[in-house]
C-alpha cells in the first residue's frame, strides 16, 4: 500500500489530496505510475508538466517506486 499525494492544480484536477493504493506489480518506475494514473485521471496524460517526489525527496520519472511509501505529484514549484 503506497500513499499518493497530489498538490496544487494536480490536486484540483484529480479531485482529492491523497489516496492509498495497492500498486500493480507491473509498476516499477514513477513513469509507470503516471501512465497507470492517466487511465483514471486525464491530468496525468502529459507528464511534461508534472514533477514527482518519492518518499519526500524530488525524483526523476525513472525512479524506482516499488518500495516507496509515499509518492507525490505536483506542478513545478513556485515558492520563494
Amino acid at each position: 500500500m503506497v500513499k499518493i499525494l497530489y498538490f496544487s492544480w494536480v490536486r484540483d484536477a484529480v479531485g482529492i489530496a491523497e489516496e492509498h493504493i495497492d500498486l500493480p506489480e507491473t509498476i516499477c518506475s514513477a513513469a509507470d505510475l503516471v501512465d497507470w494514473l492517466a487511465l483514471r485521471y486525464p491530468v496525468f496524460a502529459d507528464r511534461g508538466k508534472l514533477r514527482v517526489a518519492v518518499d519526500q525527496v524530488m525524483a526523476q520519472f525513472d525512479a524506482d517506486v516499488r518500495r516507496a511509501r509515499e509518492i507525490a505529484f505536483f506542478p513545478p514549484v513556485t515558492g520563494g
Binding site: 498538490f7 517526489a53 505536483f74 506542478p75 513545478p76 513556485t78 515558492g79
Partner: protein, 147 residues
C-alpha cells in the same frame, strides 16, 4: 547553526537578521521576498507539502554550509494567505567575510525557488484565481549553481 521554519504568521525581518549576528560573525546577508503589488492582485495563497518542505529546506541549508564558510543560516517561509507588501520568504546567512554570506544567500533563494515544494495561487479583485506558473528564468538561475 541552521534554522528553518515554515509558518503562517508574518515574521520580523529585523529580528531574523539580528539573530544571525553571533560570536565571530563578520557579515550578514539576507534576501526578503515580498508579495508584489501587481495591479489587480488581491491576495496570494501559498500551499506546501508539509512532510517534505522542512526536509528540502534543511537539505538546501546544509548544502550551503558544505559549500561556503558559514556560521549560521536562517530560512523562513510563510504559507497561507498573504496580501501585497507582505513578506513571504526570508533567507539569511552569516559568515566571517562578506563573499560567503552574499553568495550563499543568492544560492539559497535561487535553489529554494526550484527545489522547495511550495505553490502560489493568486486571487484577483474580480474573484478570479489562478495557480502561478514556474518561470524558465528561475530554472536558469538555479542551474548556475551546479558545481
Amino acid at each position: 547553526m541552521i534554522r528553518v521554519e515554515v509558518c503562517a504568521a508574518p515574521f520580523d525581518v529585523g529580528v531574523a537578521t539580528s539573530q544571525l549576528i553571533t560570536h565571530r560573525v563578520g557579515g550578514v546577508a539576507n534576501f526578503v521576498g515580498i508579495v508584489r503589488n501587481d495591479s489587480t492582485l488581491l491576495s496570494l495563497t501559498l500551499e506546501h507539502y508539509p512532510g517534505m518542505t522542512d526536509l528540502a529546506l534543511r537539505a538546501l541549508a546544509q548544502t550551503a554550509f558544505d559549500r561556503w564558510d558559514l556560521l549560521a543560516t536562517t530560512i523562513l517561509h510563510r504559507v497561507g494567505v498573504m496580501t501585497p507588501g507582505d513578506p513571504i520568504v526570508f533567507v539569511g546567512t552569516a559568515s566571517s567575510h562578506r563573499a560567503a554570506a552574499l553568495e550563499a544567500t543568492a544560492f539559497l533563494i535561487d535553489r529554494l525557488k526550484t527545489d522547495a515544494p511550495f505553490w502560489k495561487r493568486e486571487t484577483f479583485a474580480d474573484g478570479r484565481t489562478c495557480w502561478v506558473e514556474a518561470r524558465d528564468a528561475d530554472g536558469a538561475a538555479a542551474r548556475r549553481w551546479i558545481a
